[in-house]
């Protein structure tokens, strides 16, 4: 519940097309979840299923919203089910972001 409030600074990060790589998104998610779920960063395994990290549905919606704002894309609430780990989600988002930007 307390995630967004601590992360105000993060929103200042400007997404530059082609620049926000899979790695950047992944690192951002690790940091975000560590703060939100009150876990030490080193224990947030990008390959672990979100449930293993303790991401409940409310917090997963908050994560989605933060990612939407940061990356400037629209996501459905199902995206966490389809890509159920940080690594898979980051790969998907990086691909989508590049795709959408190259179309424009």
């Amino acid at each position: 519940m307390s995630g967004g409030a601590h992360l105000r600074g993060q929103r200042m990060v400007v997404f530059v097309p082609g620049n926000s790589s899979e790695t950047e998104i992944r690192d951002w998610c690790v940091k975000y979840l560590a703060r939100t779920l009150d876990l030490p960063e080193e224990t947030v395994d990008p390959d672990a299923k979100f449930a293993r990290l303790g991401l409940d549905s409310a917090n997963s919606l908050y994560l989605i919203v933060e990612l939407e704002e940061w990356l400037g894309i629209e996501l459905t609430s199902e995206v966490i089910f389809e890509y159920p780990s940080i690594a898979e989600l980051a790969r998907h988002l990086a691909r989508r972001a590049t795709g959408e930007n190259s179309v424009r």
Binding site: A5, T43, A51, R52, D56, S57, A58, V65
Partner: protein, 571 residues
């Protein structure tokens, strides 16, 4: 005027006759979807179609589980049950990846003859549901079937009596011992009238609600109170609100809604997601009653919400803290429309001694928000839970409630019904007080303040969780964890929000540090999957160190105390 009608069925007929073309309900879909709506005539027609099918296939008093995604089909099915005299059982759709949510236990407890849903859900979104419910041997019905289907009316539907059961409210999940609150038509009508008076609702009191329909607050304050006062009810999916809370505020603006609310966290979420650019053109001056209930109401939340949204026309006296629970149909205490909120500053130290004493000493101040006064036709008492003596104003004890809105009891559970619904105050004649399990005090003006809880219940984002269920999940997830030797409880974090803590004994053989991290991760995963909560702390403790009574009952309060004073024997 609805007060003269005998049941909600009569209210529906009345609305369908007097306001047939008025829109009763609108559902706002998430981005891009199509808005759907029902006039009172539509609702009555469709509900009748459902009722006739129910009456043809079953009998009065049968139960029907209602499994619906957010939308208007639920409303149709609910009224269909009422018209047919079939007992509605609103249920949360079991989460896809949970193996033992409360739904199986609820089905086993109420033994439904029917499961009503909409065809889309079963056909495409959640085909697994028929399999999940296969043990319950229910007959499936679809609320969205066209009206003119071959089932023809076979005699009129018989009249509803005030004493008939309207529905069962399972107050969120208990996988071990679910309790279905029996709400009669009379209970409903009485509480809806109390709400109408306290809220000052009229036909103009448009309501915008995102609270789930299987939650008592969403059902009664949103869906039913609107029909009762003849006002438009605009519904949104809970997920839409969680992702875009400001869209709720926009809907309040768009429909010039007077009434909208939710649990305390909803107001915090709006503040947190506030973005000036997304609030352009929004005028909230129409919003007269922002009710806040279903979890503890916080003074900071009310202040922050007001200071953030006052610039959009939100007024301080619209904040409307309230208190209630399904056992009293819904509402127990509330201010009157426009009262705003009252905050008492009491001594933290005196609270420990069960007294509410005003203080100005900064380090000792605890701020409690008043939840309004008793409703018309209701009695409130604060009682010593041990001696059962009534306590004077400003003394802290258990909150007890009596009145015509106090429900009939728990479904097929005479023992719990007797304990919770049939209490008596020492030295007073009347039996039939409802014990709320909440602690609080009344001030000299009769304002009720809730200060704590004696029942073992964890409330997170307005949803009730039973510690026994969570403890069972924990003990089932790893062989190192000792059965009946764990405690789940909640503590307040720095933001004063309730957070789940798990304390669990571990078998001696598993004490090596290597295994510990793995076990904790497994527990976290199990709780997240089965209960949809992120536990804040999971602590494994030494064999035999969890406080238990001599008869082996877990002392959760003591475990909580040991946790707060860092006195646990952590492995």
């Amino acid at each position: 005027m609805p007060g003269e009608l005998a049941s909600l069925v009569d209210v529906l007929r009345h609305r369908a006759a007097e306001q047939s073309n008025d829109t009763g309900y609108i559902f706002l879909p998430d981005r891009g979807g199509e808005r759907s709506q029902l006039t009172y005539a539509d609702l009555y027609g469709r509900a009748q179609a459902v009722a006739l099918r129910l009456a043809q296939r079953g009998k009065r008093g049968d139960r029907a589980a209602l499994l619906f995604p957010p939308g208007l089909d639920f409303v149709v099915a609910f009224f269909g049950c009422l018209l047919a005299g079939v007992i509605a059982v609103p249920m949360m759709i079991p989460r896809r990846d949970s193996t033992r949510d409360a739904s199986a236990a609820i089905l086993a407890d109420c033994g439904p003859r029917f499961a009503i849903t909409c065809s889309d859900l079963i056909a495409s979104a959640r085909p697994d549901l028929t399999e999940r419910l296969s043990n319950a041997r229910v007959e499936w019905l679809f609320a969205d079937c066209p009206r003119g289907e071959p089932d023809h009316a076979n005699g009129a539907l018989s009249a509803v009596e005030r004493t008939d059961i309207a529905f069962l409210q399972y107050t969120s999940g208990s996988t071990s011992t679910p309790k279905g609150v029996i709400v009669s038509h009379d209970n409903l009508m009485r509480n809806l009238e109390m709400i109408r008076i306290a809220f000052g609702n009229t036909r103009q009191s448009t309501h915008v609600s995102w609270v789930p329909h299987y939650h008592d607050m969403g059902l009664i304050l949103g869906i039913l109170q609107s029909l009762y006062s003849g006002a438009l009810c605009v519904l949104m999916a809970p997920v839409s609100f969680m992702q875009r809370p400001l869209s709720w505020l926009r809907a309040i603006h768009d429909y010039r809604a007077e009434v909208a609310g939710g649990p305390n966290f909803a107001f915090d979420l709006c503040v947190r997601r506030h973005r000036p650019e997304q609030m352009e053109g929004i005028d909230l001056s129409c919003w007269k009653l922002a009710y806040n209930g279903a979890e503890p109401v916080r003074a900071e939340t009310i202040e922050r919400f007001h200071s953030t949204f006052a610039r959009y026309g939100f007024t301080a006296n619209s904040a409307h803290p309230a208190y209630g629970m399904a056992e009293a149909t819904l509402l127990i205490s509330s201010g009157r429309r426009g009262d705003g909120s009252i905050t008492a500053t009491v001594s933290r130290n005196a609270l420990q001694h069960h007294q509410a004493v005003s203080t100005t000493q900064n380090e000792d101040v605890y701020r409690v928000v008043g939840c309004g006064r008793s409703l018309i036709g209701e009695r409130l008492a604060v009682v010593d839970p041990e001696s059962r003596r009534r306590l004077a104003a400003r003394s802290i004890g258990e909150v007890w409630v009596a009145g015509p809105h106090v429900a009939q009891g728990y479904w097929r559970n005479p023992e719990a019904t007797n304990t919770v619904f049939r209490a008596f105050i020492d030295g007073e004649g009347v039996r039939g007080w409802l014990r709320t399990g909440d602690l609080g005090f009344l001030d000299d003006n009769g304002e009720l303040y809730i200060t704590g809880r004696i029942k073992d219940l964890i409330i997170i984002r307005g949803i009730n969780h039973y510690p026994q269920d969570i403890e069972n999940t924990v003990q089932d997830c790893h062989s190192a964890l000792r059965r009946h030797c764990g405690a789940a409880f909640s503590v307040h974090d720095q933001n004063n929000e309730e957070q789940l803590v798990i304390v669990q004994e571990v078998e001696r053989a598993y004490r090596q540090q290597v295994a510990i991290g793995e076990i904790i991760a497994t527990i976290r995963e199990a709780i997240t999957r089965e209960h949809d909560i992120a536990p804040r702390e999971i602590l494994l403790i030494r064999t035999g160190t969890l406080p238990q009574t001599t008869s082996g009952k877990i002392q959760r309060h003591l475990a909580r105390h040991l946790f707060l004073t860092s006195s646990l024997a952590i492995v």
